[in-house]
Amino acid sequence: MRPRPRLRWTEVVRARAVVLALALAAPAAAEPVPITPAERRSGITFAGPQTQGLQADDTANPGMLFVLDGAQLWQAPAGSAQRACADCHGAAEHSMRGVAARYPAFDAASGAALDLSGRINACRTRHQDAPQLASEEPGLLALAAFVGFQSRGLPLAPPQDPPMAAVRKEGRRLYETRMGQLRLSCAECHDALWANRLGSSPITQGQAGAYPIYRLEWQGLGSLQRRMRACMSGVRAEPFAPGAPEFIALEAYLAERGAGLPVETPGVRP
């Protein structure tokens, strides 16, 4: 039998508090209505002044360590093709400006939507003859952070082509589907209860423009999918597999419901 990890009592108390708080909150919640464009707020606006300061100062933002790492990887020959990202795309400051703001996007070659990490991996297999990087692998996070950083300050502008409309529709369906033992959907917290608190933590709108983020809880950089897995664990649902089409669809819908918010990569969150 796999040894059961010992829980600190604080974790047990917190887990019970979440269950209780959500159980109390859910029946009282109004039917979730999507957030209007005028009401859209980045998660950073819910964070404390110290966390906001960390994100705003590039000499203190720990996410910048990963951006620097990504800048080196961008120039480094990879795979049996010994080709660097820069060999095709040139200077990322120009070629990647605005790219992250348009992802997830439809990939005609595979006939599926890809998020930015998926696009980086597709490039690796198609053009660099390199193996795919696993989800949350430091190199993949660093490249995603570096490419995302090139769009910092630009508004999220999800592509409006018909294939992506279908993906977003599926994403919205998942977003509004009750999941897990707590029978909660994303919308029931992040559309209906944002600006309230769960325990001592603010419930944010679940906006996704800052990813990959440096999360103080993680003490490192992590992807939007990692954050969604944490939410799914929170409602006691079995998380989708890393890179699953369900996650890509959710990312596509999140981009649509956050359209116009600026890219903040690398964001910092508690």
Binding site: P3, P5, T59, A60, P62, L65, F66, Q219, G220
Partner: protein, 106 residues
């Protein structure tokens, strides 16, 4: 891959007090955590940081496990000459990571 981020003003006037910031990517593993298998994760931290300016040590720090992951430190020095600032981080086990920055003083 060693990733360091140091911030030193490129130029300064002689006698100016300049602020210096230094950060290194490092987990600062405390030695107090257990892995998913229940086994203790051994301590591995940066325990010493130094900054030399023109070869002379102007600042140093001893870190314990309570210093946060990706340790960050901000301090100051008086700009006395155009020279190189050298930053070193020493890890448990003796591995040394280094970075440098130039300052032009007039």
């Amino acid at each position: 891959m060693t990733r360091t981020l140091v911030n030193v003003p490129k130029t300064a006037r002689r006698g100016d007090v300049v602020e210096i910031r230094a950060m290194i990517a490092h987990p600062m593993e405390t030695g107090y955590r257990n892995g998913p298998d229940g086994a203790a994760i051994p301590r591995r931290i940066i325990h010493r940081f130094t900054c030399t300016y023109g070869g002379e040590e102007v600042f140093a720090a001893d870190f314990h496990p309570a210093v946060g992951a990706n340790p960050y430190v901000a301090f100051s020095t008086v700009a006395i000459e155009s020279s190189t600032l050298t930053f070193t981080w020493i890890e448990d086990g003796g591995a040394v990571h280094a970075a440098t920055a130039e300052i032009a003083v007039d």
